[in-house]
C-alpha cells in the first residue's frame, strides 16, 4: 500500500464514520423526518466544491501571472474534484426537494447558480480536453475558470433580486440543536479531508500525465554553448 492508497483508505474510513454519525447519532428532524439527514452531506459537499473551485481560481491566477505548472495542475485537479462534489450536491438537493418542496427542481437563486457552476466547470474540463495540451490549454482554461468563479455570485445575485425559496443558512443563527450541529461539523470536516485527498491524488495523476507529454517543467538550457563556426 503506497501513501496515496493509505490516505485514500483513511478518507473513506472517515466518511463511513460520518455516515454512522448522520444515521445513528443525529436526531430525526421533527418536521422533515429522515429526509433531513440529506442536509449533512448536501451542504458539506457544496462547501467542498466551492473550496475546489477556489483552488481552480487561485491556480488559474497564479498560472497567468508566472506560468507555474504546479499551479495549473492543482487547478486541473480542483476542477475535476469540484465537478464531482457539485454533482453530489445537486443530486442530493433534488432528492431532498422532491418530498419537501414537492418538486425536484425550482429556479431559485441557489439552485440556478449551482447549476451554472456545474455547467461552467464541465466547460472548463472540456476546454482542457479539446485544446492543444500545454500552455494553450492551461491559459484558455485559466480564463474560463476565473470568469466562471466571478459569474456564479453574479448569477446568484441576479436571481435573488428576482425571487428565491431556498432555505437560508441555518447554521449561523444557532437554529440547529447541538447533536445536529456536531454531526454537521464532523461531516463537513470529513468531506473536506476527502476532497483534499482526491485533489492531491488527482494532482499526482496530472503530474504523471504531464511527464508523459513532456509538459513538466520546461528545462531551460542555459549553457551558453559556443555556436558552431560558420563555414
Amino acid at each position: 500500500m503506497n501513501r496515496y492508497e493509505k490516505w485514500a483508505a483513511g478518507a473513506v474510513a472517515l466518511m463511513l464514520v460520518a455516515g454512522a454519525a448522520i444515521f445513528f447519532y443525529a436526531p430525526t428532524d421533527y418536521l422533515q423526518g429522515p429526509v433531513q439527514r440529506i442536509f449533512y452531506l448536501h451542504v458539506s459537499s457544496a462547501i467542498a466544491a466551492y473550496g475546489c473551485f477556489a483552488v481552480v481560481l487561485l491556480g488559474g491566477l497564479i498560472y497567468l501571472r508566472n506560468e507555474n505548472a504546479v499551479a495549473d495542475r492543482f487547478a486541473r485537479a480542483g476542477a475535476l474534484v469540484g465537478v464531482i462534489f457539485t454533482t453530489i450536491t445537486l443530486v442530493m438537493g433534488m432528492l431532498w426537494a422532491k418530498p419537501i418542496w414537492g418538486t425536484f427542481w425550482t429556479w431559485d437563486a441557489r439552485l440556478t447558480s449551482t447549476l451554472v457552476l456545474w455547467i461552467i466547470y464541465v466547460g472548463y474540463l472540456l476546454v482542457r480536453r479539446l485544446a492543444e495540451p500545454g500552455r494553450q490549454a492551461a491559459r484558455l482554461a485559466a480564463v474560463v475558470g476565473i470568469f466562471g468563479f466571478i459569474d456564479v455570485p453574479i448569477v446568484h445575485f441576479s436571481v435573488t433580486w428576482w425571487r428565491t425559496q431556498h432555505p437560508g443558512p441555518v447554521i449561523v443563527n444557532d437554529a440547529l440543536p447541538a447533536a445536529m450541529l456536531g454531526t454537521f461539523l464532523f461531516t463537513m470536516a470529513c468531506t473536506l479531508v476527502l476532497a483534499g485527498v482526491m485533489v492531491w491524488i488527482r494532482y499526482r495523476i496530472e503530474t504523471l500525465q504531464d511527464e508523459k507529454l513532456h509538459l513538466a517543467e520546461p528545462v531551460q538550457v542555459v549553457t551558453a554553448r559556443e555556436p558552431e563556426p560558420v563555414p
Partner: protein, 214 residues
C-alpha cells in the same frame, strides 16, 4: 555579426518530438535555406524563429533579443510568410497591405513600394480572393516586407509562384537576412549561401553549398 543565435532548440508536440537540440547561427545579411523532408521539423523551426511558437526548451536570440521573453519588441524586426497566406479575400490587394501598415505603424506609402517588389502593382485594386494562388503568395510576401524586417522568414515561398519564383525571391531577399524552408535543392543553392539540413527534427549540420542529393 550574428543576427540569430539558437542553442539546443527543442520542441515537443505532446508525445511527438518535432525538433531536438537544433543549434543555429545566422549572420546579418546571410541567406540560409532549411532543407528536409515533410515532417522533418522545418515549419516548427520557422514558427519558433517567428516567435509564434515557444520552444519546449533551448535558447533563441534574434537581434540581441530573447525570442520568448522579448517577443513583442522582436516582432518589429520579423517578417514571416507562412504556408497559409492569411489574406482577407474580400479586401483588395492594396487594402490588405494598408491594414497591416496600420498594425505595423508604417506609412501607407510602403504599400506601393511593396507591391512593386513583388510585381503586383497592376493588381492593387483587385480583391485578394480573386487573385490566383501565385499572386496571393506574392501578396503575402509583400505583406511580410512592408515594415522592412531585419529577418525575413519564408516557409516554402516558392509554392505556386511559378517559373519566375527564383527571380522574384532574389529581388525580395536582396539586402536582407533570410531563413527559407524549401524542398527545392536547386533553389536553395541559387538563393542561399548556406543550408541547414533537418532530418527527423535533428540538425545534420550546415553546408555552404549543397551537392549531395539525399
Amino acid at each position: 555579426m550574428s543576427l540569430v543565435v539558437g542553442n539546443g532548440i527543442t520542441h515537443w508536440f505532446g508525445r511527438e518530438l518535432a525538433l531536438e537540440g537544433v543549434d543555429l547561427v545566422i549572420d546579418t545579411g546571410e541567406h540560409m535555406a532549411v532543407l528536409g523532408d515533410n515532417g522533418a521539423g522545418k515549419t516548427t523551426l520557422l514558427r519558433i524563429l517567428s516567435t509564434m511558437l515557444r520552444p519546449t526548451s533551448g535558447r533563441l536570440q534574434i537581434a540581441g533579443l530573447d525570442a520568448v521573453k522579448e517577443r513583442r519588441r522582436l516582432r518589429h524586426y520579423l517578417g514571416y510568410v507562412a504556408h497559409a497566406t492569411g489574406l482577407y479575400p474580400a479586401l483588395t490587394a492594396a487594402e490588405n497591405l494598408e491594414f497591416f501598415c496600420d498594425l505595423q505603424e508604417v506609412a501607407r506609402t510602403r504599400v506601393e513600394e511593396a507591391l512593386d517588389v513583388v510585381g503586383l502593382v497592376p493588381m492593387a485594386k483587385r480583391r485578394a480572393g480573386e487573385l490566383s494562388r501565385g499572386m496571393q503568395q506574392r501578396l503575402a510576401i509583400a505583406r511580410a516586407i512592408l515594415h522592412e524586417p531585419r529577418l525575413l522568414i519564408l516557409d516554402e515561398p516558392d509554392t505556386s509562384l511559378g517559373d519566375d519564383a527564383a527571380d522574384l525571391l532574389t529581388r525580395v531577399m536582396r539586402d536582407k537576412t533570410v531563413v527559407m524552408a524549401t524542398h527545392d535543392h536547386a533553389l536553395a543553392n541559387r538563393l542561399c549561401q548556406r543550408t541547414l539540413i533537418l532530418r527527423h527534427g535533428r540538425s545534420h549540420g550546415t553546408a555552404s553549398r549543397l551537392h549531395v542529393v539525399k
